[in-house]
């Protein structure tokens, strides 16, 4: 069973009086596996939100189709098992956080003490317990994002679809969201989220898909996309070692730059690092810092995006 499958999914918007056609999504084929965290990556306007809206039936596709839990998305009932957080959350301002969650729970047919307990758990999960009786119109963007996430989980969904869940959150809030997503996976859920914040993807995703101008340009496990030797270089700053050692290092392939009493050595692989650290210790030198350089998704992203543009 695939939690989410799309085949040839295409959406054209018609703009203005002359109905100029804009292809927002171009024949997307994608499968999301059970129990994984799938990162859906793309620059602004790549078509991430369009894809998500198509999958949830907010938009009708121009062509192609999609399935949720092996059922066509046109079946309203499949949404019973889906949780969704829209891009910038818009909710009923006149409801309090608690009423809001209760309302959405009722739409799923929940009620009574089950629902009350669920609302309680979720308010706890997104650390919004204190604000439970505050109407949403008085919430900050980050608070709205949190109740938005709680709302997406009210039905204990099998598939959770989040459109830019970290946007508008401070670093702590982003860490909280990452934790929530990881916890969902631990509970056996499938999470599909869109973002353009790459470190978040690198940290938690099992697989990613990269969307460039409405086309899927790459999809695969995060490690594969980054490359198996993900560390490309290491910067090492040392002080108090003799010049002789530095020339040795240079001869072995490192580049060295002197800055006052310190030397910045750029090494190309891990073996050299061990050797250099031994040398520094032997000569009573001091290691100031050691910074690995990874080939990040960012590099890849720029590469993919550039590749299509040219």
């Amino acid at each position: 069973m695939k939690p989410l499958r799309m085949s040839g999914l295409t959406k054209e918007y018609r703009l203005g009086l002359r109905q100029r056609r804009v292809v927002a999504l171009d024949h997307l084929d994608l499968e999301v596996e059970e129990g994984e965290i799938f990162g859906f990556l793309g620059h602004n306007g790549a078509g991430k939100t369009t894809t998500i809206k198509l999958v949830l039936g907010l938009l009708h596709p121009t062509s192609g189709s999609a399935w949720i839990l092996d059922q066509p998305i046109t079946e309203v009932a499949v949404k019973q098992h889906v949780g969704f957080l829209p891009e910038s959350p818009f909710f009923y301002e006149y409801l309090t956080a608690q009423e809001f969650l209760t309302f959405y729970g009722q739409l799923f047919g929940l009620g009574g003490t089950t629902l009350a307990r669920r609302v309680e758990e979720l308010l706890e999960l997104v650390s919004m317990k204190e604000a439970r009786h505050v109407p949403l119109r008085k919430f900050s963007k980050g608070m709205l994002q949190r109740v938005g996430i709680a709302q997406a989980l009210i039905n204990d969904p099998k598939l959770v679809i989040l459109d830019e869940p970290m946007s508008g959150l401070d670093p702590l809030g982003r860490r909280d969201v990452r934790d929530i997503i990881l916890r969902l996976r631990d509970a056996g859920k499938t999470v599909f989220f869109s973002t353009h914040i790459l470190p978040d993807v690198e940290m938690i995703c099992d697989r990613v898909g990269i969307l460039v101008k409405g086309r899927l340009s790459a999809v695969g496990p995060v490690q594969d996309l980054i490359g198996s030797t993900s560390i490309t270089a290491i910067d090492m700053v040392v002080e108090g070692i003799p010049d002789r050692i530095i020339s040795d290092a240079e001869r072995a392939g490192a580049t060295a730059v002197k800055r006052g009493g310190q030397v910045l050595l750029t090494l190309s692989n891990g073996l050299e690092v061990d050797y250099m650290i031994d040398l520094v210790r032997m000569h009573k030198g001091r290691l100031v810092s050691l910074i690995p350089h990874k080939r990040s998704l960012e590099d890849l992203f720029v590469q993919e995006a550039g590749g299509v543009r040219t």
Partner: protein, 255 residues
């Protein structure tokens, strides 16, 4: 069915927290009460004036609530995109629309009921008795409001709040003079304009049939058959409008 009730209840709750509603209601009661004052200024026909003003106030305030609160309920939802989270739940779109409609109809009912109570209170103060004729007039007025709300909701499924309000008010006004429209159509001799005018006459609601305010204020009898025919006409027309609204709503994209 249960989901529809949840949405309807939520709609009612939303209305209760809407300041416009209270302002309109307060203003309506003020108007009705002021009839007492006006009544004392004119000699003789005091009770008829109170009845005229009372019925007219209920009508106008009801219309304003129907149009402005009604349009807010659907098109504001589209504009503010709260609809995204509803449509992504296992709620068929027509259920959402019907739930909204039911909630609003209930709001209107409560609203009209409160104003009617104020009206009858005013009558009692001026030593007149409320009668069945007045209640019949208010009942038909309520049917008209139900129809207008359906029209307002239908427009809001595809255009902006401002345009919806304009169209709905236009339909209200033209709907009250469909007889003139018919007469005009008779006068024209063929051609596109005659065809168009006749088309409008048949498509637009004949709202004049819900208006028995004059007879009620005078205390002249209102035929039961007339009332039933009007109610049936109103119900069928309203159902048709809601059906069209659901069809438009089902097809549209939520961008």
């Amino acid at each position: 069915m249960k989901r529809m009730a949840v949405i309807a209840f939520n709609t009612f709750k939303e209305n209760l927290r809407d300041k416009i509603l209270y302002n309109l209601l307060f203003f309506g009661l003020l108007l009705i009460g002021s009839a007492l004052l006006l009544g004392t200024l004119t000699m003789g026909e005091q009770q008829k004036i109170i009845k005229d003003i009372g019925l007219a106030s209920i009508n106008v305030i009801g219309l304003l609530v129907a149009v402005f609160v009604g349009i807010g309920l659907v098109s504001k939802e589209l504009e503010k995109r709260t609809i995204f989270t509803i449509v992504s739940k296992p709620v068929p779109r027509y259920e959402f629309l019907l739930g909204r409609y039911a909630g609003l109809a209930f709001t209107l009912f409560v609203n009209v009921a409160i104003m009617t109570a104020g009206f009858f209170g005013t009558l009692l103060v001026s030593q007149a008795l409320p009668d069945a004729g007045l209640l019949t007039a208010i009942g038909l007025m309520f049917m008209e409001l139900l129809l207008i709300v359906a029209v307002a909701i239908m427009f809001s499924t595809f255009t902006t709040p401002t345009l919806s309000a304009t169209f709905t008010l236009a339909i209200y006004v033209i709907g009250h003079c469909t007889a003139d429209l018919h007469a005009l159509g008779e006068k024209l001799h063929g051609g596109l304009s005659k065809w168009l005018i006749n088309g409008l006459y048949y498509v637009l609601p004949n709202l004049a049939c819900f208006n028995v305010k004059g007879a009620a204020a005078y205390g002249s009898p209102i035929e039961m058959r007339y009332v039933l025919t009007s109610l049936t006409y109103g119900a069928v027309y309203t159902a048709a409008v809601i059906l069209v609204a659901c069809m438009i709503f089902q097809r549209r994209d939520f961008r």
